[in-house]
């Protein structure tokens, strides 16, 4: 259904607290007027993330509360999209449950998984959660404003990620300071264009 409508669907996956919602808040503020977005915010409990996305300007936001389940599945996404008018939609963001293990095994009908980690989590994470990195297409390293406050090294995390998956498109950014976000926005706009069969601005 998403493919027929040429809606780019991205499945955001990470540990709890890596910054999935913060990245979407930033993205809504920067691209909300130019790109027609639909957002699904999954959580084990609470609709807090969905509320944050609405406050950040999200016009079509649907919470999914799994009530214990450790991941979203395609049936939940189908149900969440049921009552939405998708005729103008260009980009669907699915914010998965915070969990680096289980969501790696579930195809939500997405074009790509985007895996986030934050610099405070340690640069060993790609090696310890290889399935998630193997099945992702993009890798966002968030909280680069906190580099130097731990022994996390950018070169090492990228090398570890490359060992697992040599084709990851990587972004280094801070949702707090805004550093590095322009590259992410540009990539998103390019992917939306490509999905529609249009040439990207920056090939």
């Amino acid at each position: 259904m998403l493919a027929e409508r040429k809606i780019l669907a991205l499945n955001l996956v990470s540990s709890p607290g890596s910054g999935k919602t913060s990245l979407l808040e930033r993205t809504l503020k920067a691209l909300g007027e130019r790109v027609n977005m639909v957002l699904i915010a999954g959580d084990v409990q609470t609709e807090n993330d969905a509320q944050r996305l609405i406050k950040a300007g999200g016009r079509i936001v649907r919470p999914i509360v799994t009530g214990g389940a450790c991941h979203l599945d395609a049936r939940m996404i189908t149900k969440a999209l049921e009552d939405i008018d998708l005729s103008a939609a260009e980009l669907l963001f699915i914010e998965n449950v915070g969990n680096l293990v289980c969501p790696s095994s579930y195809d939500l009908g997405e074009d790509m998984k985007v895996v986030l980690i934050s610099t405070t989590e340690g640069d060993d994470k790609p090696l310890k959660y290889p399935s998630m990195f193997r099945r992702s297409s993009a890798f966002v390293i968030n909280k680069i404003d906190l580099l130097g406050q731990s022994d996390f090294e950018l070169a090492r995390v990228k090398d570890n990620a490359r060992q697992i998956n040599g084709t990851l498109t990587t972004f280094e950014l801070s949702c707090r300071t805004g550093e590095g976000l322009n590259g992410w926005y540009q990539w998103l706009e390019d992917q939306v264009a490509l999905k529609k069969g249009r040439p990207p601005k920056q090939p």
Copy 2:
């Protein structure tokens, strides 16, 4: 079997990168001579954490690589303990897979679950992962050296945790700077004493 031998068993649970291994490294260095510890380090992939614990002075350390499974279970623990001489053991630490969801559902034969979060993960986590906080007895807030670098508030996270579980024993500490660790060490020694039927130093 652990109960018969009066071995205090603690199941450490958290997101990836909250600092379970760092806390155990510190604990080994501080109490390794006074308390006879056995450590099990669970991970989806790699034995890196077990290697870190051996380097930190752990004499009996067993890795469990789940190879994809998102939690440890009691059978894995039984198997890991099979070839260990437990006659002198006083304290068993089980470092679970980094995951705030699934490990909450599995009893590993522990006396208590100890849930960690780090200040960089956001103070909303107890509300979003209530099952883990409900089933834990102690709550460690790590990385307090990074307070002020995000909008995380100690008062708020403790209030959120209290809403889910009013009986949590809470520690605020930094495995990086060492701040707050003495209270954790004292609590551990007291729990080991209580398990053996001896009075704690600080009742």
